[in-house]
């Protein structure tokens, strides 16, 4: 959060007299005190950026503290301490060693990450900078800059802290800056020096008063007091255009000087890096829930054992038989204390049921697994020469769980590559026919504008084109010769213009095609070349900036003739109310037609300002700009006042082409059962047409509109109308719709459209109705296939995401966007995806994953996400399972050893089981498994539904795994128990003891657990082979070794030759083989049955067969082609739309409930899904 330094501001400066200005800071430029003031150097933080968490000294304690805050680690620490303190059955090493291992691995990982941060910090902090100090240029390090220092920055250097621009080498007192590394906008932005500052910085005596640091990159309010010996102090207003942000780079300017205002952690960049909340995946929640269950099992096991122990001991002769007398101390110990100690001992004995190594394995899996996303060549985009980027590895599996996708339109669904398509002047349509061929052929006589119907008057045409040429903030790229090329057309290079928005460039280029060329700006004079190749010059008086609320921008220029002209361009909705109404109608037709065709439309208006009007506007603007308080609001008020009563000239249409494969991607997402919501700041018509183009809306889709237009239909109040509409739509989309069957498509598609204004009405209406409206709104939305929210402010986007996120069932949401305006929703959603698009890196930086193109989303979700989810879900379930069947025999053994906490297994086995014997195969599985190959996953989007709603980590599959663990545990223990009915198991008549018993059980356990994983593995690479067979070999070799040597450091040689003796016994071999086979039999059966069921996909190609070629999965709607089978069919009715909707053709699923818990089953999840289950005989005959 923001750290506020509160320090007194002298009354001299508090000219406005408002009290709230305590929240500002005063900076003495160059540390020179103003003459009238006693100089108290205020304290600010230094310019060191610290993103690292640890230092060498505090790493150990701090990291350990952080790690033990995690509940699982803390639990194991407690167990370890209990073992150290209390006389427990197992030595502290058994739990200490795994804990040490886990802690060490995590510490190494975090240490490495912190080391990287340190390196990055140092790179920034030690960067050499030049500071001007009393006229001398001093070289120093970036971290030594103090607030008030005058810093010199050369071209292509980054600013070391937030600076107020004082001096630039450019003659127009500007400098160009690119904020590519900050918000990613790669265009050049112009910043201005504080007007009328001294050219000689050494003699400058000034203070800057500005607000305390705040993270908004685009807001800055301050003022500068310049003291001159002979005059009153002058006051200059400072705005964001004067502020150079740390992290931005100086471009096209030789050198600038600026005074540091915010340093170090108070710079806007640093403030923006903070507060990125930690996202946790839903899988982790499942793990915690399971952990709780296992903790309960553990405690109840310990309780049962303790109780039974004392019941058992109460029988005469059992408590203290003559052969096992108690020590004096034991006799004297208090009974309840003994009970408690016994309870703790049982806890320690059974504590292995909580898989200590699971967290570290999960973490390793996530960390290593995320590399596969980075490495994927399919995500590589040759255009920007980059692949995917993973900012957090914690959410890999969440990609497989997405239910709602919120996508931005511009730059995400569309390319944000603007092309001028047509314009309309005074209601006449002008279409540029062939951009390339006619580019050279235009001439002033017949006009470049191809005549479609009739032409508007020449005067209007030229006015319109002039407006396009003047009303923008485009800059001509500084190229040699531009200034000197009077009279010649400038080069038509695509890169010739720099602008903050690509539409502006498109418009300027559009005007250029029609003969009006913008030549550039020189010291506030805009030069354009008109059709007759004559240069016209205009004085730029004011720029009324664009902002998303006003949705328009204006310029005020003075022509040669001395007229002050205001040109305004903006969205139709913001222009139409401000122009004379009689002009609107003829243009509105065009605008709406263009919008439905998917073009971005802008309206252009102008106004001639009389000298008085201009004088007043000028004064108002100046005043508003100087205001320190509420500057924004005041400016907007003035803008609104000035931009009134204009004359509409025409409208433009700019095409924003769809991203590659945008439609296919959206279709795949919808096929995967994901609901796509489009959240855009764009206007409804444009957004709607994009939706149609992306096939989010289809011809059959019934659109429900809740926009300002529909709300203002009647005479009634908006509020009432809103109420009625919501109820009407709710009835239509929610109540009247028959409950959908399974994942089949409902009979009627609904699309919902809402705009920002209506949305804020829904959200902000009166207290009581708000939640009701919200509820209605949400229900309608959830029943629609696609929801389009247009005219959204960034915050509203986040609001929508939050609303869905918090709705019933807390669905997993994903936001994808490319611009700074999408950041809020990217941060809000469970998974945020940034597109490395044209609008910069802001979205990428705040995202969890970044991909170059929208089309990559398909593979990211349907391919990677699906696989990651299956992998991690299996990993988690398997971990719990393998520890359950590990500990269950030990629990059962207590019933046969007088509840004496005798461990069944040797300490080495207890310790190594999770670390060595069974850890690697599951890790390899969880990194490499592809139960269905990626191509098939991508071609059959419906497969994504099979894992929806956390299907593999719900209670039913958990129960299956738990029961399996119990079954195995019982089998292991009692199988060996019956064998030991006669412990004379060797051919020479000798008998086996308790350690042989434990070793046989443990051998069966290790082999069964590993084979179980092997059975589940569908994708055997050499690595799987290596770790699975390697782990088993390691176990055998280790056991031989462990029992083959008299270990000098061990007190007892309990396992001496136990393993070898076991192997020398034929009975032991036979029972091991028997128990392993018997344990796996149910699983083998399931695999076989499941295999047979999956063989019924279209064309009978089993899904799990991973194909290097794309399989020829053609659409075969319905179930008619499917061959009969002994199992049941789940089928989706053929889609009723005429689109080639092939993903939901027919899906077969074996009806055995158990089969559904396994990764290979493609049953849709449980819950609100209904199955069409037909015995196959009936469908085939």
């Amino acid at each position: 959060m923001l750290v506020r330094h509160i320090f007194p501001v002298s009354s001299l400066f508090s000219l406005g007299g408002d009290e709230s200005r305590v929240d500002s800071r005063t900076i003495y430029v160059g540390h020179r005190p103003s003459t009238t003031e006693a100089f108290i150097p205020p304290k600010f933080c230094d310019n060191r950026i610290v993103s690292s968490k640890y230092t060498v000294w505090n790493f150990l304690p701090k990291n350990l503290f952080e790690q033990f805050r995690r509940i699982a680690n803390f639990y194991f620490l407690i167990i370890f301490l209990v073992q150290v303190i209390v006389d427990t059955p197992t030595s502290p090493v058994t739990s200490g060693l795994p804990l040490f291992f886990v802690i060490t691995v995590t510490a190494i990982k975090q240490g490495y990450e912190d080391w990287l941060r340190h390196k990055a910090d140092n790179e920034v902090n030690k960067y050499p900078v030049t500071v001007l100090e009393n006229g001398r240029r001093m070289g120093t390090e970036s971290e030594k800059i103090k607030v008030g220092d005058v810093v010199e920055v050369n071209e292509d250097e980054t600013f070391p802290c937030d600076l107020i621009l004082l001096q630039s080498t450019r003659d127009d007192d500007t400098c160009f800056v690119t904020t590519a590394s900050l918000d990613g906008e790669s265009n050049h932005k112009t910043h201005y020096t504080v007007p009328d500052t001294e050219k000689d910085l050494d003699s400058l005596s000034a203070t800057i008063e500005c607000e305390q640091p705040q993270p908004d990159l685009y807001k800055f309010v301050g003022r500068m007091h310049i003291y001159k010996t002979d005059r009153e102090p002058e006051i200059r207003s400072l705005g964001p255009e004067n502020l150079l942000l740390k992290g931005a780079t100086l471009k096209n300017t030789q050198r600038i000087c600026g005074v540091a205002v915010y340093t170090g952690m108070e710079t806007k960049m640093a403030l923006n890096y903070q507060g990125k909340s930690q996202k946790r995946s839903a899988v982790e929640k499942s793990i915690n829930a399971f952990l709780l269950v296992y903790l309960c099992i553990l405690v109840s096991k310990a309780l049962v054992c303790t109780t039974l122990k004392y019941v058992w001991q109460s029988k005469p002769g059992q408590d203290e038989p003559w052969y096992n007398q108690k020590t004096q101390r034991e006799k004297e110990t208090n009974l309840y204390l003994k009970m408690f100690t016994d309870f703790l001992s049982f806890m320690v004995l059974f504590n292995f049921i909580i898989p200590v190594s699971m967290y570290v394995t999960v973490e390793m899996q996530k960390f290593l697994g995320s590399f596969f996303i980075t490495w994927d060549r399919d995500f590589y985009d040759p255009e920007i020469q980059e692949g995917a980027l993973v900012n957090t590895s914690d959410l890999n599996e969440e990609l497989g769980q997405v239910e709602y996708v919120f996508t931005d339109k511009t730059g995400t669904l569309t390319q944000n590559n603007m092309e001028f398509i047509e314009c309309c002047i005074d209601g006449f349509q002008y279409k540029y026919r062939d951009a390339v061929s006619e580019l050279d052929g235009f001439s002033a006589t017949d006009g470049p504008v191809s005549k479609l119907q009739e032409k508007a008057g020449k005067e209007r045409e030229e006015l319109f084109l002039r407006a396009l040429c003047l009303c923008h903030t485009v800059q001509v790229k500084d190229m040699a010769g531009v200034d000197g090329m009077e009279g010649c057309p400038p080069p038509h290079e695509q890169t010739g213009f720099i602008a903050s928005s690509p539409d502006e460039v498109a418009l300027v280029k559009g005007a250029m095609r029609y003969g009006f060329t913008f030549l550039g700006m020189e010291s506030k004079k805009m030069k354009i070349m008109n059709r007759s190749n004559a240069i016209e010059t205009y004085d730029l008086l004011h720029v009324l900036n664009f902002d998303p609320v006003r949705r328009r921008m204006s310029v005020i220029v003075r022509s040669k003739s001395g007229d002050a002209l205001l040109f305004c361009k903006g969205a139709d909705s913001s222009i139409f109310p401000r122009v004379r109404q009689e002009e609107v109608e003829k243009i509105r037709v065009h605008v709406e037609r263009n919008a439905t065709e998917g073009y971005r439309t802008l309206c252009v208006a102008y106004k001639k300002l009389s000298p008085e009007e201009y004088a007043r506007a000028d004064a108002d603007l100046q005043a508003a700009r100087l205001a320190l308080q509420d500057r924004e609001e005041k400016l907007i008020a003035v803008y609104n006042q000035v931009e009134a009563g204009m004359t509409l000239i025409g409208a433009t249409a700019v095409e924003d082409r769809l991203q590659e494969e945008a439609a296919e991607t959206m279709e795949a997402l919808q096929g995967a059962g994901i609901k796509v919501w489009v959240l855009t700041g764009d206007k409804m018509e444009t957004a709607k047409s994009t939706c149609y183009a992306c096939r989010l809306f289809q011809r059959g889709t019934e659109l429900l509109e809740l926009t300002v237009r529909t709300l203002e239909d009647g005479v009634r109040k908006r509020e009432e109308r809103l109420h009625d509409l919501l109820l009407e739509y709710h009835k239509k989309a929610v109540q009247d719709v028959p409950p959908t069957k399974g994942w089949s498509k409902p009979s009627q598609d609904f699309g919902f459209i809402i705009d920002g204004a209506s949305l804020s009405m829904v959200f902000n209406s009166s207290e009581s109705s708000s939640s009701h409206y919200k509820n209605l709104f949400l229900q309608i939305c959830q029943n629609c296939t696609t929801v389009l929210c247009c005219r959204m402010a960034p915050l509203q986007k986040a609001q929508i995401v939050k609303m869905v996120k918090c709705s019933k069932g807390s669905p997993i949401t994903l936001s994808i966007g490319d611009g700074a305006n999408d950041v809020s929703m990217i941060l809000e959603a469970h998974v945020g995806i940034g597109i490395k698009g044209k609008e910069g890196r802001q979205a990428v930086r705040n995202s969890d994953y970044a991909i170059p193109k929208l089309k990559h989303l398909k593979k990211l979700l349907l391919g990677h996400g699906h696989l990651y989810y299956v992998r991690i879900a299996h990993l988690v379930q398997y971990f719990f399972y393998k520890n359950l069947c590990f500990i269950l025999p030990q629990f059962l053994y207590q019933f046969f050893c007088g509840y004496s906490q005798q461990p069944l297994y040797d300490a080495a086995y207890l310790t190594m089981y999770n670390i060595c014997f069974t850890s690697m195969p599951i890790l390899a599985y969880s990194l490499l498994e592809q139960h269905i190959c990626v191509e098939v996953l991508l071609d059959n989007a419906t497969l994504y539904r099979s894992i929806a709603k956390n299907a593999m980590l719900r209670w039913v599959p958990f129960l299956y795994w738990t029961l399996l663990g119990v079954f195995h545990g019982l089998l292991f223990f009692f199988g060996v128990r019956f064998l030991f009915g006669n412990p004379a198991l060797q051919a020479n008549g000798q008998v086996f003891g308790n350690w042989s018993y434990g070793t046989i059980v443990f051998t069966v356990l290790v082999f069964t657990v590993t084979f179980k994983l092997a059975l589940d593995t569908r994708h055997w690479t050499w690595i799987n082979h290596f770790v699975i067979w390697g782990s088993l070999c390691f176990y055998v070799i280790f056991s031989f070794f462990w029992g083959g040597i008299i270990w000098p450091f061990l007190k007892q040689q309990r396992l001496y030759y136990v393993f070898a003796h076991m192997l020398s016994s034929a009975s032991a071999w036979l029972v091991i083989v028997l128990l392993i086979l018997l344990s796996l039999l149910p699983d083998i059966l399931l695999v076989v049955l499941r295999k047979s069921s999956t063989a019924f996909l279209p064309r009978g190609r089993p899904l799990s067969s991973c194909c290097r070629r794309r399989p020829a999965l053609t659409a075969s709607p319905g179930v008619t082609e499917v061959s009969p089978s002994p199992c049941f069919l789940l089928h989706c009715p053929p889609p009723n739309t005429d689109h080639d909707y092939h993903s939901c053709s027919s899906l077969v699923c074996f009806a055995t409930p158990l089969a559904c818990f396994l990764p290979d089953c493609f049953c849709p999840p449980y819950g609100n899904v209904h199955y069409h289950l037909h015995p196959l005989n009936s469908t085939s005959r």
Binding site: W322, D376, C897, Q902, P983, Y997, L1074
Partner: protein, 338 residues
């Protein structure tokens, strides 16, 4: 842009990074599974039959001699006050009890697997380390030192509670008793006898035990456990070793002797026998039972019906399942087999 830069940023095109490692997809189709099940089933049935037959051929003779019943000959010995009590159990064999015959003693409701009991020994002492003769480990408490604070060797509960009933077997031939020689060698694990347990190197062995006392319940000190064989004394006495290997379950048997010598090496011929028991070991206090077991062994060890039956059951299960599958598959022919 240069080509190098292009390749520098582009992810490596290796099979591993692209998750395209050549992989084997196990396909358990009907063509594999049904024969597989049949083979496993048949193999299991075969093993099961072999195990069952083998187990059936093992002769076992169990005699409980706890003396709970008043008419039992050992009833008199259950009185703890009776010292050096002997009792005799007579039995007759109708046919040859094939050799080699193994004699086991069995105890029930005896918790050798009790944790504290199991820990109550000094492993270092038992490897012949003289330092631990004078200072036995505290894990041996309450059998670490006797009342006079003298160290007990071997210390601890396990050693102290060593089984001390003795058995002598006689064949009754023409009203005369012929002693059946019982062989006490080779009843403990070879590694226990030769490596794990060691006597001190002191010669004679007795000297090593100076200043120590025998375990409280023992009649004789450790170096006099076997008066007939000097190499069977101290910690490597085979009876001691057998006892020290703790049983896994509370009902257990341990090997006592083998009948491997003389004319009885081929087995015990049909006839009447008398088993003379030196009854010393009290079990009534904890409701235990004692028995003596004569058994011959096979390659699978002693008689154990469980394995054979289990194998037969699982084997038949496999066969039945394969038949069911075959029927199902035959009825609904699988497309992938066309």
């Amino acid at each position: 842009m240069s080509k190098e830069e292009n390749t520098a940023n582009r992810p490596d095109n290796t099979a591993f990074t692209q998750q395209r490692l050549p992989a084997w997809q196990p396909m358990l189709s009907a063509g594999i599974v049904i024969p597989g099940f049949v083979i496993i089933g048949v193999a299991f049935i075969g093993i099961g039959v072999a195990l069952f037959v083998t187990s059936q051929n093992i002769q076992v003779l169990e005699k409980d001699y706890t003396g709970i019943e008043t008419n039992s000959s050992c009833f008199k010995c259950t009185n703890p006050r009776v010292k050096n009590c002997n009792c005799t159990i007579n039995f007759s064999l109708d046919k040859l009890f094939e050799g080699p015959v193994f004699v086991y003693y069995g105890l029930s409701n005896y918790f050798q697997n009790y944790r504290k009991y199991g820990a109550s020994k000094d492993a270092a002492q038992l490897t012949g380390d003289l330092a631990y003769f004078t200072e036995p480990s505290t894990s041996c408490v309450p059998y670490q030192r006797d009342a006079k604070n003298k160290p007990i060797v071997p210390c601890g509960s396990i050693a102290n509670s060593m089984f001390n009933d003795t058995f002598k077997l006689f064949q009754i031939v023409n009203s005369g008793n012929v002693a059946v020689p019982l062989d006490g060698k080779g009843i403990a694990w070879w590694t226990d006898y030769n490596i794990k347990y060691r006597n001190p190197t002191t010669n004679p062995l007795k000297n090593a035990f100076n200043d120590t006392v025998k375990p409280i319940f023992w009649p004789r000190p450790a170096y006099e456990l076997d008066t007939t064989n000097a190499a069977n004394n101290g910690f490597i006495n085979q009876d001691f070793l057998v006892w020290m290997r703790r049983s896994a379950l509370p009902n257990f048997r341990k090997l006592y002797r083998r009948i491997t010598e003389g004319e009885y090496a081929k087995g015990l011929p049909a006839g009447d026998y008398a088993l003379v028991i030196g009854y010393n070991y009290p079990v009534k206090a904890f409701d235990g039972r004692k028995k003596v077991v004569f058994s011959n062994v096979s390659w699978m060890g002693g008689k154990n019906q469980f394995l054979g039956i289990a194998y037969l059951v699982i084997g038949s299960l496999c066969v039945v399942m394969s038949i069911v599958m075959l029927i199902v598959y035959a009825k609904f022919k699988f497309p992938d087999e066309e």
